[in-house]
């Protein structure tokens, strides 16, 4: 998640926070088309159109090859690196029928049960 760390306007003075993309100027520009596509998923007809022809729908919104591949692979970490924003990507997760524990597990390399256990363990912090 080094995108932007060296890019103008990205808060260069701050140290990186582990595993935490900062959705600022660099990622917001890089991910604009991707997020615009995900924003369109607010509409049920658009969700249906995407499901019918994923690659075609990505092309319609002008996604890069890398973004299109990351969509096809359901690779959340790569989608984030490509400028995806958590709130917009969550609408894609909705299409996939995944909840936030599923998404959390995918990103942390845990099983869903392990991820839920991690959340519960925070009670003892």
């Amino acid at each position: 998640m080094n995108d932007g760390a060296t890019t103008t306007g990205q808060g260069n003075a701050h140290a990186e926070i582990f595993g935490t993309p900062i959705f600022g100027p660099a990622l917001a520009q890089k991910g604009y088309a991707l997020n615009k596509m995900c924003f369109s998923f607010n509409d049920a007809a658009n969700r249906a159109e995407f499901v019918k022809n994923e690659a075609g729908y990505c092309a319609k919104y002008g996604l890069t090859v890398e973004q299109t591949e990351a969509m096809a692979a359901r690779d959340i970490l790569r989608l984030l690196a490509c400028g995806g924003n958590a709130y917009y990507l969550a609408k894609f997760a909705g299409i996939l029928g995944l909840n936030m524990q599923d998404i959390g597990a995918l990103q942390t390399g845990m099983t869903v049960e392990q991820f839920k256990a991690k959340l519960l363990a925070a009670r003892d912090n």
Partner: protein, 285 residues
Amino acid sequence: MARIVGGLATSHVPSIGGAMAKGLQKDPYWAPFFDGFAATHRWLDDVKPDAAVVIYNDHGLNFFLDKMPTFAVGAAPQYCNSDEGWGIPVLAPFRGDTKLSWHIIETLVGAEFDPVTCQEMLVDHAFSIPMELFFRDKAHSLPAVPVVVNTVQHPLPSLARCFKLGQAIGRAIESYPEDIKVVVIGTGGLSHQLEGERAGFINTKFDKVCMDAMSGDISQLTRINQHDLVELSGSQGVEVMNWVAMRGALTGEVRELHRNYHLPISNTASGIMLLENRPRLAQAA
């Protein structure tokens, strides 16, 4: 003149809407959260506010990155909820109060805040769910003014700035010429992070700092910069900005009447708070 009777805060996780639609309020997973509203219901039944100002963040329903306001104020007679794409039920429309909205807007601009004004605005789960959680059968008839804070795209307004926004909203309400009782609500938080390898991050110690600061020393929060806030609260935990703005609007003597803290609700540490606001003049009288 209008009177600010108190402040309320609650988390606004989308799946709360799903749980409400399925009637899961007494389910063992959900009860520790929903039971936290009983005290706020008793207080609201007693105080009977006439209007609510609701400070929240939009998650890509009304605002997209093409036009992303730092602050926006609704000025519509009615606010509709709509499909947010993640399968939670769409709620009935909410009632606005254009007169109060424009009074707040005029006061804010007079105080050198320059919000986007919205005569049409969709309200997402961060507005609609707290309205239903707190006001139940009155949620769709109680006049409300939505205030949106950008928590999506950095640079985010600082906590200090959010607090000052709240103070200006408080002064606006207090100078409103109608004899009404207003409650101010901040939604979102507490600590959580949805994305990245740090997904699932929760910080109970910092959440306690946030809740304690609501009736204690608010500078514990307003001195934190936005980068440190992300580190302490998680990427989406920054929504506590809405709580800080709500707290800013309580211009009188503030007393904590109730708090509820439970985790996890989805990936979030949930917080509910009820703050009483006693106008200083009324207290002296």
